[in-house]
Amino acid sequence: MRKFLAIFLVLALALTTMVGCGGGAEGENGGGNVSEEDVTTIGFLYIGPVTDGGYNQAQHQGTKAVEEHFGGKVKILYAENVSEEKQAVKTNAINMIDNGADIIIATSFGHMDGMEELAEEYQDKYFLHFSGYKMNDTNFGNYFGAMEEARYLSGIVAGMMTETNKLGYVAAYPYTEVLIGINSFYLGAKSVNPDVTMNVVYINSWGDAALEQSAAESLLAMGCDVLTQHADTSAAQLAAEDAGCYAVGYNMDNSKVAPGSFLTAPIWHHEAYLIPTIEKMIAGEYVPESYYGTMADGYLGLAPLTDLVPEEVKAKVEEVKAQILAGDFPIFVGPLNDNQGNEVVADGDALLTRDEIWSMEFILEGITAIE
Amino acid sequence: MEPVKAIEMKGISKAFGSVKANEDVNLTVYNGEVHALLGENGAGKSTLVNMLSGIYRPDSGTVSIYGEEVGFTSPKDSIAMGIGMIHQHFKLIDVMTAKENIILGKNQGLITRNKYISNEIKKVSDQYGLDIDLDKKVYNMSVGEKQTLEIIKVLYRGAKILILDEPTAVLTPQEIKKLFTIVRNMKEQGCAVVIITHKLNEVMEISDRVTVLRRGRSVGTVETSKVDTSTLIEMMVGKKVDLAIKKEKTADAKKLLLEVDNLHVKNSEQKYALEDISFKLYSGEILGVAGVAGSGQKEICETIAGLTKAEKGRIIFEGEDIIGKSPREIIRLGIRMGFIPEDRLGMGLVGSMDIVHNMILKDYHNQPGIFLRRGPSVKKATEIVDKLEIQTPSINYPVKKLSGGNIQKVLLGREIDSNPKVLITAYPVRGLDIGASYKIYDLLNEQKRKGVGVLFIGEDLDVLMDLCDRVMVFCIGKVAGIVNPDEVTKEDIGLLMTGGKGGALS
């Protein structure tokens, strides 16, 4: 019994010490019990950690830009590692609302259904969802972007810089969003290099450094000398660097991570949409929409071309970019055949609307998918 | 001249949790003597010597070796002081040769000087009259040879004090004789030998002095020549015990209950574990089975009980061939057979369950419906606890927490309760103290009186000869002979056990 008593005493001592140290922090406030009237609380849900050097970090950069823009007028809450299990989505959002959140923004596709239900349950809050398609008429909208524009531009860089005329693409899943990226990148390359071909390896995961690396290595072994990826990490760029090849990234400007291979990357500027939208929400003027941003909006862009990229390539990119920004540069212009030889876009035709583009189920002639 | 004190242990105490394994134990062993450490199971013998070999450390008390106080923290320290321990279960590596085993773990330089080492080993073994083939692999050795190898191993490491933990448990009478010769040789060379045992006749035969332990305490040390066995038993048990096993002759005409005919059984390695076994078991008799461990005792029990498939042959129970039938089918046929397996908690009982739930292990499936009824088994458990005087806090107490003797009583009680005609018992007194053992013998004799045919697998030849009406001797899966214990000697049986080769098994 004496032993127990001793341990209890030690515990008590430790607790008192903590109280002593704790005093200083007392002033800070946890939670939403203090909500000044003109401060709007915004909650962000991320699928991974904000330090992942890829998808989530890019999202969080947008969040930080929002915070900076509004200064003290908004308070940001965020939750990392919010899995796509609906209960996890709802719990985190509800905990945010519990802490005074007025706007919830979820950033992974699988968060969609949870957001839909929450919008129903909390009609006095706003909900925004990135990369999905669901919305309602009152308080739930979504946003996404025509990434094919930026992909096309990055494809030009790759097409001009390949020497083997073989590009490599590390892709997540063979599904529409990814296929759009693959095809637009390839069309960009082909526009400047008619002989170019491309190999695609699917890793069947949205982000897995080991899988991305091994996929990249197998592409390099096939003779591909410029790689790009539609997956979350920088593994492909690092693999290319090791092999003395080039890489086009995604989501993030990785010129410091892989200085030897990184050329550019198509990237998102989430703040370009979020800042005006949140302004509308604060004013109570938001009308739910399904926003599909473009380069012209400033929502999408290309990371600055690094010094590895020759001037002539830079000039070509600038030239096409100007056309895209002018708004009269469709990416998917016929005639296009898929890699089975079927005509998918007829001569004189083009995929123009979001719906047309988002029913894409093919990969183009000249691209080989390796499952 | 005062003889040299090889070992002096004073006031040794050692507790495991709340169990006091040793309490204030004193032991003094001189050079040039064979000292027996006698006590029942659980008396604390193994704990005591494990403190000598550095496996445990005493909670209090002092250990001195050759007059020097020591505090062993590992077996290494103990070996360095010249103590060699031969465990009950040999610590040898099967796939290595004798020589490799001997030099294993002994620090050597980079180069193994083969010839030199062989000579060194030879020197040591000659000195004590030991004989071994250094290049023989351990898996080819008989139990006796393995033991010899263990002894050479410790002697080669410079042991002057030898501790043998139950060395005769697994040996045939011939092998025991050989061992005792070795022990006497060592004694003459001035070594100190400690033998742990619970067999009194061996104590009388080999030892110079005896220290008796009872319930963790040392009762006393006596000179063997000045005591008789009944004194020693009284010291061990703490009271006078009538030692004689009564062999009762049943007068009634004996009825054939079980006939085993030309039985062949293969083990899991597809080798014959039993070959051409034929015998008959009559009502009102105890048929003993003797044999070196692993000669097919387990297989014969399990085959009769329907647990092991026979290759060929017949097992006829009251006129009906039960071969190929499952235990449940055998029970359904109305064949009443009790089986006390060797591994009580691992096979006969469910250790974590209480007595009540263990009572229904073999007949729960006869209950109607899907639910388990406790009622009948509560009654049965209460009766058995009463009748067999089982020491337990309650009938709802997990059986694995009972003592060995009480566990065996639960098992035996359940089997007897089903009114068997045939009772198969495998090593029913293994691990039990003397009192409990005699209680079990009484119960078996009582069954015999009631006309039950008892098959008794035993290991102590003295008990087999005292208790059984006939003794069947197994040798490597075959029946070497069925003898009347009144007409043969222990040595005769030992010879049969080893196929007449007297010692080594081939």
């Binding site: 127990f4 209890f8 515990l11 430790a14 607790l15 903590m18 109280v19 704790g22 007392e26 800070e28 939670g31 909650g43 950690p49 939750a79 990392e80 590692n81 899995s83 299990e85 609906k86 209960q87 996890a88 719990t91 985190n92 905990n95 945010m96 519990d98 596709f109 699988g110 969609m112 259904d113 398609y133 899943y173 599904y175 529409t176 969003e177 069947n204 988002w358 029913s359 894409m360 | 949790g17 450390r57 505090g71 009980a305 329907g306 647990l307 235990p327 449940r328 029970i331 908690l345 691992g346 096979m347 006969g348 009982l349 469910v350 250790g351 739930h357 292990l361 209950q367 899907i370 388990l372």
Partner: protein, 359 residues
């Protein structure tokens, strides 16, 4: 030199057992508090906030219960297998397969009344979850194949298979190209009672049923005997293969039922992420409950409080997810660690310690 030695404890008095547990909880809070302090947060806010975040308001309590439901049902499933010493670590896969079965019914069978649809979904879920456990059970029973790795591997197969369905054949045509299985119709969604889907009633009923099954039925008795010693079961004439298979069917079936509950009441569709790690967490809870069905209920609620509290402070205090996980980990470490002290005693050899000091 062995200054510390460890020995097995004999039975501890109940009171002392609880004292050790309470001590472990207290110690874990202090330790977590210190870590929080070192990381620059105020433990006097974080820890109370964790508790109030889990049970402080009705809505928080609801979140906690919603986490406890799948945990209880899965733990019961795991318990049945573990009782037999069948190490089913394939709960995740069985949950997913159960959800798959339920989803098949929900998406393909129309025109039945709601009640019938739900029952059919449950049956389908239990069959598929059971089947997923049956595969390793069959190989274990007939060929002695180790079930640990087998069940673990089947998790990945199940997850990948559902992912394939989600991206391929089962992709909803209404999802505008996104990889998503169609949402269930209202007929296939578990109703709510007191603001929480009726999974909580299912869980409570199952706690009682599993308790009765293990302790008061012949099959439960057989499972316990097989778990204790297969030799004993053989001796008693039990059909071991059959018992292994029945028990794992029940185990997998219960895990499958979790899948149905999650698919129907929470996700309202099929997704490869709906198992949410419950299949693994349930191993801890079942074990901590010492394979006792009634205890499972309380352990799972406590665990859900820890999960919800951790999620809550992550947001209310804006603590990084990793720190919240660390706090949970510390608490878990101490509480599970206390089980060690319940079974073993650590002795410190003072004599030797002193001797050393002198030297």
């Amino acid at each position: 030199m062995n200054i510390i030695s460890i020995s097995k404890r004999e039975d501890l008095p109940q009171k002392k057992e609880w004292l050790i547990r309470a001590l472990a909880v207290a110690l874990s809070i202090v330790c977590a508090g210190l870590v929080i302090r070192i990381l620059g947060y105020n433990p006097l806010q974080v820890i109370p906030s964790m508790v109030s975040g889990a049970v402080g308001t009705e809505i928080r309590l609801q979140q906690t219960i919603l986490k406890a439901i799948p945990l209880v049902v899965t733990s019961l499933g795991i318990l049945v297998a573990f009782k037999m010493k069948f190490w089913n670590i394939g709960g995740e896969g069985q949950i997913i397969m159960g959800a798959l079965g339920a989803s098949y019914v929900a998406l393909n069978i129309e025109g039945l009344p709601k009640f019938a649809t739900l029952i059919l979904m449950m049956i389908a879920a239990m069959i598929l979850g059971g089947f997923w456990a049956f595969i390793p059970a069959f190989f274990k029973a007939k060929m002695g194949v180790n079930e640990t790795i087998f069940t673990l591997m089947l998790n990945y197969i199940a997850i990948k298979f559902v992912t394939y369905l989600q991206y391929g054949p089962w992709k909803s045509p209404d999802s505008q190209g996104f990889p998503k299985v169609a949402t269930f119709s209202n007929n296939a969604i578990l109703p709510k009672l007191f603001g929480i889907h009726i999974g909580w009633i299912i869980a409570l009923v199952l706690v009682v049923l599993v308790h009765l099954f293990i302790n008061h039925t012949k099959k439960g008795y057989e499972i316990t005997v097989v778990g204790e010693s297969q030799e004993t079961a053989r001796y008693a004439g039990m059909n071991i293969s059959q018992i292994i298979i029945v028990a794992t069917l029940i185990s997998g079936g219960l895990c499958g039922l979790t899948g149905m509950i999650q698919a129907s009441a929470v996700e309202k569709t099929l997704s490869a992420t709906l198992s949410g790690g419950y299949g693994f967490t349930a191993i801890i809870t079942a074990w901590f409950a010492r394979l006792n069905a009634i205890a499972v209920l309380f352990v799972c609620i406590a665990f859900a409080i820890l999960l919800q509290g951790g999620a809550y402070i992550q947001i209310s205090m804006q603590i990084p997810a990793s720190v919240a996980d660390m706090i949970q980990g510390i608490i878990l470490f101490f509480v599970l660690g206390s089980e060690f002290f319940l079974q073993y005693r650590v002795n410190i050899n003072r004599k030797r310690l002193n001797a050393k000091e002198v030297a």
